[in-house]
Symmetry: C2
Subunit: 357 residues, 2 copies
């Protein structure tokens, strides 16, 4: 028997010793690195995320990267509430990092997950979160290969914060950057905006509003791969419209590329119930976070092909060309309103929606 086989056998024997978390709530000992931490890792995290790279539970995971060009990204998640219509902090944390990799033009491969748990957090809730992460990871065809858990005393956290990082491989010959937009390019959004932010606001229950809104949280790697396969040389920029909404990411493009972006208000897809909630709360949907929508800038001549490609994917069936890139005034985003006026769409100032992701 080879040494590698012996090692795998040992791991397998250790695995069979099914550890059990007997506590109902997280204690400081779960973060101390000792027995309770080991049990938590094996009974909850390894149980949910099991894969050959994670199983050895060494200090890090060993990746075999098939290509020399990789994307690397991270996001912390502090959403409140942890569970909301359409998702929870778990799938958000997986999808968010998967999407950041997709926005780099990469095929997402491996994730890490760092948990900061508050003493007293129900273990049952942690299991719900890890189950949801596992499902999102399976859907996005990524593995969670390494992680860490810390516990902070009561009142020094809020149940559960998660930081995911991700590694993906760039397999297409693309150069994607917010600084890549040029006059004549088209600006496309992959679907109706603002549902995630609106769902979170309603889930907090601070307002006496009921509306059938669910978060749009989703992994965008598939639809992005379709787009990059269709017109690899003609996609300038990909940005998922999370905090700050599409207004913020389009402003980033305008500033970084030193171009103007002119948006057509009537082309911007917003579901009526989201519009309704935003009106009641005094929010502009352009600034409301999505977690499963992206903005792409593509060569104007290939805009129709890009739109067709996006609409051919379930997550892009309501995609729209919402604007064009112009020379002047550089760094500004303008909105041609439905009523025929024009206004400047500035970046978000202040925080109308804290802890949205």
């Amino acid at each position: 028997m080879s040494r590698e086989q012996q090692v795998l056998d040992r791991i397998e024997r250790v695995r069979r010793r099914k550890p059990v978390v007997r506590e109902e709530r997280i204690t400081l000992a779960h973060g101390a690195g000792g027995k309770a931490t080991h049990t938590l890792i094996e009974a909850v995290f390894l149980e949910a995320f099991r894969n050959p790279l994670l199983a050895p539970l060494d200090d890090g995971a060993i990746l075999r990267l098939e290509d020399a060009r990789a994307a690397f990204t991270t996001d912390s998640f502090v959403v409140s509430p942890l569970f909301f219509p359409g998702g929870d902090i778990g799938d958000l944390a997986v999808n968010g990092t998967v999407n950041d990799l997709a926005m780099c033009g990469a095929r997402p491969c491996h994730l890490s997950a760092g948990f900061i748990l508050e003493e007293g957090f129900p273990v049952a809730d942690l299991r719900r979160v890890t189950a949801s992460m596992a499902a999102a990871a399976a859907a996005a065809e990524v593995t969670i290969v390494t992680g860490d858990t810390k516990v902070v005393p009561r009142g020094k956290g809020d149940g559960c914060y998660i930081t995911t990082a991700g590694v993906g491989l760039i397999e297409q010959p693309v150069t994607l950057t917010a600084a890549g937009a040029r006059p004549g390019d088209a600006v496309i959004v992959s679907g109706p905006i603002g549902a995630h932010g609106a769902a979170i606001m309603l889930a907090r229950g601070d307002f006496d509003i009921e509306a059938p809104i669910t978060s749009d949280t989703a992994s965008l790697h598939g639809i992005v791969a379709d787009l990059l396969r269709a017109i690899p040389q003609h996609v300038r920029t990909l940005r998922d419209a999370t905090r700050g909404g599409i207004a913020t990411v389009i402003n980033e493009v305008a500033v970084a590329s030193e171009v103007a972006v002119v948006l057509q208000e009537e082309k911007i897809p917003v579901r009526p119930e989201v519009t309704g909630v935003c009106e009641l709360l005094g929010l502009d949907p352009l600034y409301v976070a999505c977690e499963g929508r992206f903005v792409t800038v593509v060569d104007g001549e290939h805009a129709a092909q890009a739109l067709d490609t996006l609409r051919g994917h379930p997550l892009g069936s309501e995609a729209e060309i919402i604007g064009t890139v112009a020379d002047d005034p550089p760094g500004l985003v303008l909105l041609r309103t439905t009523f025929g006026g024009t206004r400047v769409v500035d970046v978000l100032v202040g925080d109308p929606l804290p802890r949205i992701c």
Copy 2:
């Protein structure tokens, strides 16, 4: 001028527009993804960590990996207090992830950093932390290439939590795992143990004890590289002795490898001032965290060479062979005490030292 050059020029022009953080304390707006977030990222994070991979501030960093075998790891840091003799949460967060990569046998290359800031956290403290991260990254020859910032309301955090993830390249033909120890192997610790944990306990000021103890936080990639260069085929296991101390990591090895480990108490290096503080606080130094020490299991026949190599590095001048690996009883760590007795060294139960890292 090539398109790539144009893009770099734009980034450079944007860079020159020196943004300034005018607030003295972190506000929720700094986490909202809008103007305040951008200013914070550019004036604080980019200023401290500037490098070509981070500068575009896109959704992720694009890495050019020169080899196909990589290590990937993450750690969250919630240490309290944030600043302590010998270091702070910033260099701890860099060194911790650098060390986890080193323990995988990898040359650390790139880090990500996710910040969870509490509303009201002084911006000056954040600058101290980022300066310290930048210095630690420079010392470890890694770049911080991507990041994220979230802000939680007052009372939902504790100033600053940091999660770093890291990618490194495995350039030596090594197979390192806690399951790799074999009877006849030697167990070596790279230097005196317990200083980090003791320094943190004293820094909290809960005890009326003064002692000249500074944290041992340090990047171990250099000393590990020396060891792996010297005896690449004979190093079984590398583990940095953080939470739970050397007792915990040696237990991990005993369990995963299904071997016994017999430690000689008088060989275990502990500084007298650390011993003194541990006696006063009722702590066993074997369980107290280090942040710049590691345990390695090496082939017994190469133990002397390993020790010489470690002692040749400034971080290993006090390294010692502290024990041997035996057949029986599998999964147990035994300590031959200075007084001639033998006791079982179990894994840590409970949390004597919460928020040590």
